[in-house]
């Protein structure tokens, strides 16, 4: 028994220190697990971080304990535990970066370059991350990833710690078993029972509060923005011609397949009359949505509108295609028949010059400048065999000429001649006008043609031009 006396009185031995150290480590681990799961009893939410999208603040394997939301003031910067909006049945642990207008929460993983695309509804928030127990959930991560090696390593380390912790006491235990009497359970057995009971209690606590898995998610996006689709202002030339504010006087899509009249679709029934001969009908013209019809003149036919007072505010619009620098596309004349001297008065004309350009001419009686002839001319030759869109406008003495949707010439006049007469297509009178061609008869095709009681502005002209093109 002297040896026992000696043990009792001796200063702590090396093995006691090792055992105490090992026990301390085990105890610290135990407490960490304890803190990880105990709050569950209070209704808090322990969760294991399963991915690294909250690096470097939260690491894989950390247990994060979140406090329930009621009574907590949520503000950007806090890390929230919420039902994953993108993955039903899963949890997401990301930082609150913004509260949107709808009151929903915009979250973001610290390691993600962008905010989470799906907002989280306030009702989906489970709690605010409050405690972080570093690394203690790693075994659960390993289990979920089926990584045997680290698990085996952990078991080995724990086993070694348990053995080391038992060493210091086992010396006393061994001497205890050799003690005489042998009444009651041996200290070693009692110790085993104590360890077993603690382990069972520990396991029960862990079992109750085993942390859920919180997927803090990595996200990456590819965005195509801003894709834009813009409908034409008008789907058809008829739609453009009859849109509000144009005050269409006549609109001819040349849909008639026979007869000597041209049907007006403006709603005014200003039917045109075919005069002369040599007009043919064909398709393939602009304004496909309107049928894409054209009326082709061979130099002997023309169209006449009903009689009216020459307007002082108006727009002329037509699509044309020709290779011949001759004739008047549209013009106003004092009689139904055309040519000089039948027509005593004629102006408001769109005519091809002998050079193949397109002119818009109006006449101001008594004006000294240019003998009263007000003429705008395109800078380019238009007798190129392609379809062109032309609009001529007149309002308040101001003339403008648009070719293919763009303004090409404009001027201000001293006023307009006043008389009654008719709108003519493909013929009028032209002699005496600047750049006048040899004949007033137009040789070529006319597509959708209209006359308005207003001066179309540049935007409207562009929209009319676009309406006729594919």
């Amino acid at each position: 028994m002297t040896s026992t006396h000696a043990v009792g009185r001796r200063r702590p031995t090396y093995s006691t220190m090792v055992s105490t150290a090992a026990l301390s480590v085990l105890s610290a681990l135990g407490w960490l697990v304890f803190w990880s799961v105990l709050p569950a009893a209070l209704g808090w939410h322990p969760t294991v971080v399963m991915s690294g999208s909250m690096e470097p603040r939260l690491h894989i394997g950390d247990v994060i304990v979140s406090r329930p939301v009621p009574g907590v003031d949520l503000h950007p910067g806090q890390v929230l535990l919420a039902h994953d909006p993108d993955h039903p049945g899963r949890l997401r642990l990301h930082r609150l970066v913004q509260i949107d207008r709808a009151g929903d929460f915009i979250l973001r993983g610290d390691a993600n370059p962008t905010n989470d695309s799906s907002p989280v509804r306030p009702a989906a928030v489970l709690g605010v991350a409050t405690l972080r127990v570093p690394g203690i959930g790693l075994p659960l991560v390993w289990v979920s990833q089926r990584r045997i090696l680290p698990l085996a390593g952990l078991v080995a380390v724990l086993g070694a710690l348990v053995v080391a912790a038992g060493r210091g006491g086992s010396r006393g235990g061994r001497s205890g078993t050799s003690a005489p009497g042998g009444q009651g359970p041996s200290p070693r057995r009692r110790r085993a029972a104590r360890v077993g009971a603690s382990a069972a209690a520990f396991a029960a606590v862990v079992g109750v509060g085993v942390p859920a898995q919180a997927a803090s998610r990595f996200t990456a996006e590819v965005t195509s923005t801003p894709n834009s689709f813009a409908a034409a202002t008008y789907f058809s030339c008829t739609s453009a011609a009859t849109s509000a504010g144009t005050d269409a006087y006549l609109a001819y899509p040349f849909l008639d397949t026979s007869g000597s009249t041209v049907t007006d679709v403006s709603g005014n029934h200003h039917t045109g009359a075919l005069h002369g001969s040599g007009t043919t009908r064909s398709g393939g013209a602009p304004c496909a949505a309107d049928g894409g019809h054209a009326l082709t003149f061979n130099g002997g036919g023309y169209v006449v509108s009903p009689k009216l007072t020459a307007p002082t505010t108006y727009s002329l619009e037509t699509w044309f295609k020709t290779t011949t620098a001759n004739g008047v596309l549209m013009g106003f004349g004092s009689s139904e028949s055309i040519g000089v001297p039948v027509l005593s008065e004629y102006d408001r004309s769109l005519y091809l010059t002998s050079a193949g350009r397109l002119s818009f001419g109006t006449y101001t009686p008594g004006a000294a400048l240019d003998g009263g002839y007000n003429v705008l001319t395109t800078p380019t030759v238009v007798t190129d065999g392609s379809w062109h869109h032309v609009v001529a406008t007149y309002a308040g003495g101001r003339m403008a000429l648009y070719l293919d949707g763009s303004l090409v010439a404009a001027m201000t006049t001293a006023g307009a001649e006043s008389y009654t007469g008719y709108w003519h297509l493909a013929g009028n009178a032209i002699s005496g006008w600047p750049g006048a061609p040899s004949s007033a008869y137009y040789i070529g095709s006319l597509g959708f043609t209209a006359v308005y009681g207003t001066a179309l502005n540049a935007a409207a002209v562009a929209a009319h031009d676009a309406a006729g093109r594919p």
Binding site: S224, N227, Y234
Partner: protein, 203 residues
């Protein structure tokens, strides 16, 4: 001698229990300190600027459009049509699931209801024949409006595909729009805008 033995056993027990008590208390202090420190550093401070290169893995997605729009279509009329393609490539180290959805859909004059979309998804990058030669699975047919209504977020994203971590895997999307031939004139002058978003999230 019996008295002596009892006192001796008592002393032995205290010598066993004292280190244990010290160890347990030490563990408590250490664990509490660790948790306090870890919690403080994680939750008290605002986020640092994000990096995309943490050792734990990445999710990466790139598109050959450089973020730009696929469509910028103007002067649309009944029957107008157009086709564009985009190849989306995942190069992250983590396995992720990629989905397509739309955001920021806006329209005027209800134009989005008159634009029909067909979206085809094909494996790999653009074939040698170009965008029109893409053949694959049709993953959407319907109006732009219905796409905007049904696919608004990752959870409702179209045609999920799994990109294995560590690999570079691509899908090509062919998107064709056609303006409804019977669209009402009420849609004249209308506009529609939409963002297409391809998002990858790790599992």
């Amino acid at each position: 001698m019996t008295m002596h033995l009892a006192a001796d056993a008592e002393r032995r027990r205290s010598h066993r229990i004292l280190p244990a008590v010290v160890a347990v208390l030490l563990g408590l202090v250490v664990s509490a300190g660790l948790i306090w420190h870890a919690s403080y550093s994680a939750f008290s401070s605002q986020v640092s600027s994000p990096s995309n290169n943490w050792a734990t893995g990445t999710v990466k997605l790139t598109g050959d459009n450089a973020g730009a729009a696929l469509f910028s279509a103007a002067n649309l009329k009944p029957g107008s049509t157009g086709t564009k393609c985009i190849t989306v490539t995942s190069t992250g180290s983590l396995t992720s699931v990629v989905k397509l959805y739309t955001t920021h859909g806006v329209t005027t004059n209800a134009l989005a209801k008159g634009i029909d979309l067909t979206i085809t998804q094909a494996d790999g990058t653009l074939p040698t024949g170009g965008c029109s030669a893409v053949t694959g699975t049709q993953i959407f047919t319907g109006t732009l409006d219905s796409l905007e209504a049904s696919n608004t977020s990752y959870s409702t994203g179209l045609a999920p595909w799994t990109a294995n971590g560590g690999d570079s895997s691509s899908k090509t999307y062919q998107i064709t729009y056609t303006v409804d031939g019977n669209i009402s004139n009420d849609a004249q002058g209308g506009t529609a805008a939409v963002d297409f978003v391809w998002e990858a999230q790790n599992n």
